[in-house]
């Protein structure tokens, strides 16, 4: 197993290195700089600005700044935020946790819905259940995430069933554990639902096509012929055989979820990486942008690695192929 993982790990490291270099080069090409806007302020003297530039290391060359950044990444700071006047990591960590909570919930949510619906559509292929699911997935697929988020938000505002925005109510920290968890879940529901609905159509389609292939295969017909009950065929024979493409999809869907979550976070004001990144882009707080991009890459790579590990466990053929 180690011999199989080692080259991948090396490639992943190169990839991360490449992304950071790419981000840095782009950052250097940027015309506006955070400190340059301070020049307009008459209360800040050129000397102070020069001192600030020296302090942040902005007067050095691109390569020197890159090594400074690597150094601070090694110290666990990942650069310095001009706008917040503190290292990037403590800022990003809280936001990244929130994004993780949102995306993982949405992922579980969408798989929990997609698997039964996809199996049902495959089992009743061509009948009304299949048609209804095909029609609604097509409709959902054509609905952009922005519209979905806004529509859910409008729904929440009309019915007042769910809080609109934020992660916790103001008073929730004073309450007991159970009620504060309940409060948190109520805040989480709407953004997670919006995000899950965005990924749902692709998942349902893939589950349907993966299981449909197995449904029509001879060994299932044989199992039916032996009189094995449908439920046992489904759990014991169909699902394991259909798992392979679905696990691969799990890794791929992480990227879609991250992209979707950025938008949903901004629309529903969920305090994740999305609003932080948008703010940083608008304020030219470059190190936050670089760190947020690194975070998204790492998360995506981690998703793919988890999917590969699951695949390795689920499919004996893949284990055998490895030297």
């Amino acid at each position: 197993m180690i011999s199989a993982v080692a080259p991948r790990l090396v490639r992943t490291l190169f990839l991360i290195f490449g992304v950071s270099v790419l981000a840095f080069i782009l950052m250097d090409m940027a015309p506006g700089k955070y400190l340059e806007e301070m020049k307009l302020n008459p209360q800040i003297s050129p000397n102070t600005l020069a001192a600030l530039r020296a302090e942040y290391g902005l007067d050095r060359s691109l390569a020197a700044r890159y090594f400074l950044w690597l150094n601070s990444a090694a110290r666990g700071e990942f650069g310095f935020s001009f706008a917040y006047n503190c290292p990037v990591w403590p800022l990003l960590r809280v936001r990244a946790e929130n994004t993780l909570i949102l995306t993982v919930t949405a992922m579980l949510f969408s798989w929990a819905v997609a698997i039964p619906i996809g199996i049902l559509a495959a089992a009743r292929a061509g009948r009304w259940q299949d048609r209804v699911s095909a029609l609604s997935t097509t409709f959902l697929l054509a609905t952009p995430d922005v519209l979905l988020g806004l529509a859910l938000l409008a729904f929440a505002l009309h019915t007042r069933w769910f809080p609109t925005g934020g992660m916790r109510s103001l008073a929730s920290s004073e309450r007991r554990l159970f009620s504060s968890a309940q409060d948190f879940a109520r805040h989480l529901f709407l953004p997670a639902a919006a995000l899950a609905m965005g990924t749902l159509p692709t998942l349902i389609r893939h589950v349907r096509s993966a299981t449909l292939d197995v449904f029509n295969s001879p060994f299932i017909a044989a199992a039916r012929g032996h009189g094995i009950p449908e439920g046992r065929i489904l759990i014991g024979h169909i699902l394991p055989a259909a798992a392979n493409p679905l696990i691969t999809l799990l890794g791929v869907s992480v990227g879609t979820l991250l992209s979707g979550s950025l938008l949903v976070e901004v629309i529903m004001s969920w305090p994740g990486v999305g609003p932080l990144l948008l703010e940083a882009v608008l304020e030219r707080d470059v190190y936050i942008v670089v760190a947020a991009i690194m975070f998204s890459t790492l998360f995506l790579i981690a998703g793919n690695l988890v999917a590969d590990a699951l695949l390795y466990m689920a499919d004996p053929r893949i284990r055998k192929d490895q030297p």
Binding site: A30, V146, L147, A154, I293, T297, L300, I301
Partner: protein, 347 residues
């Protein structure tokens, strides 16, 4: 040779949708940037056939809309049917500017008086939403199409180079493609957008946006095209052509590009809606085409205000219009994929 009904229907429908957008100057009744401050956030104008005395009119008319915008806050608005204008086709609007009466070019429809027909209501500055929707389509659909062209062009160039030359060139290009694909697409777009100037006029922003969206998306098409080329390269007729001493450029042009075209078409049908969405997302977040130039994204942006979100339902129009367009593009891509498969089977 028409094999597929679905393909033809969705392609024709997509072309039909573009017509009012391209011809917005004729189809839209008003200028998209003119503000009517007396009617901010008015709902769609209702068209009447019967007047207050119950008499029927063959030519439908609209009433004056009065928005009460006193300083003491919002007090609602109402219709005043003592002043009406009837609807006409092929009208010229008259505007008084610097004491001179100016006539606009002919529009498909409009009214003969001062009362306006606002099919989709107005936004918070009193600009006609229907006209903004059509002109905004020029931005959003145009950005999607042009960015797709750029992306596929880059993908074709890099894919051809990588697939045809092979060896270390292939390695370098494919590693670079992996780099671009390692990032979730919105984050990648943000990364590139973050490092470009923020204050731009609408035209510059539009070109910049196309550049950003198009240049970040080259990786996936180039990988697909490379794959096709790798398989075509091994076919007997290509080997034979090479044996006859045909140059690389003409092999690519005569034998390889025709095989690639089906992949390119399918990719285009998939990429265009994605890039339209990218433009909408950017403008929605305030990073795209700036006011007063309309774009479907910036029109949706006013929904970020909770009051607008609950009270002005007509503001959703620019988002809802995306649903049929995306649906058509996806069904086009789907049927293209199928027809390509049919085409490929006998080989």
């Amino acid at each position: 040779m028409i094999r597929n009904k679905k393909l033809v229907v969705s392609a024709i429908a997509l072309v039909l949708i573009q017509i009012p957008v391209i011809g917005a100057g004729f189809f839209a009744p008003y200028d998209p940037t003119v503000q009517n401050r007396d009617v901010p956030s008015s709902p769609p104008t209702s068209v009447h056939f019967a007047d207050s005395r119950g008499r029927f009119h063959f030519r439908p008319f609209v009433c004056r809309w009065i928005g009460n915008t006193s300083s003491s806050g919002y007090q609602g608005s109402h219709e005043d049917c003592s002043k009406t204008s009837s609807l006409r086709f092929f009208v010229r609007n008259e505007t008084v500017y610097d004491g001179q009466v100016r006539k606009s070019s002919r529009h498909l429809f409009g009214t003969d008086g001062a009362e306006k027909l606002l099919l989709l209501g107005t936004d918070e500055y009193g600009r006609d939403q229907f006209s903004r929707l059509l002109y905004g389509g020029q931005t959003s659909l145009g950005a999607g199409l042009l960015a797709t062209g750029l992306s596929l062009g880059l993908g074709l160039v890099f894919g051809c180079i990588a697939g045809y030359l092979g060896s270390w060139v292939d390695d370098v290009i494919m590693r670079a493609a992996e780099l671009f694909m390692a990032l979730p697409w919105i984050y990648l777009l943000f990364a590139v957008r973050a490092f470009l100037p923020l204050n731009l006029d609408a035209r510059q922003a539009f070109i910049l946006l196309i550049g950003v969206i198009g240049s970040t998306g080259w990786a996936r098409p180039s990988r697909l095209i490379r794959g096709v080329i790798l398989s075509v390269k091994q076919r007997a007729y290509v080997l034979a052509a090479r044996g006859f001493g045909v140059s690389s450029m003409s092999i690519i042009r005569r034998h390889i590009l025709p095989e690639v075209s089906s992949v390119v078409l399918t990719q285009a049908a998939l990429l265009i809606p994605q890039y339209i969405l990218a433009e909408v997302t950017f403008s929605f977040l305030g990073l795209g085409v700036s006011e007063p130039q309309p774009s479907w994204g910036s029109m949706l942006a006013s929904l970020q205000n909770y009051y607008v979100l609950t009270a002005h339902w007509w503001t959703f129009a620019s988002g809802l219009v995306l649903v049929p367009i995306f649906f058509l593009f996806y069904s086009l891509a789907d049927s293209l994929q199928r027809s390509v498969q049919i085409f490929d089977l006998p080989k």
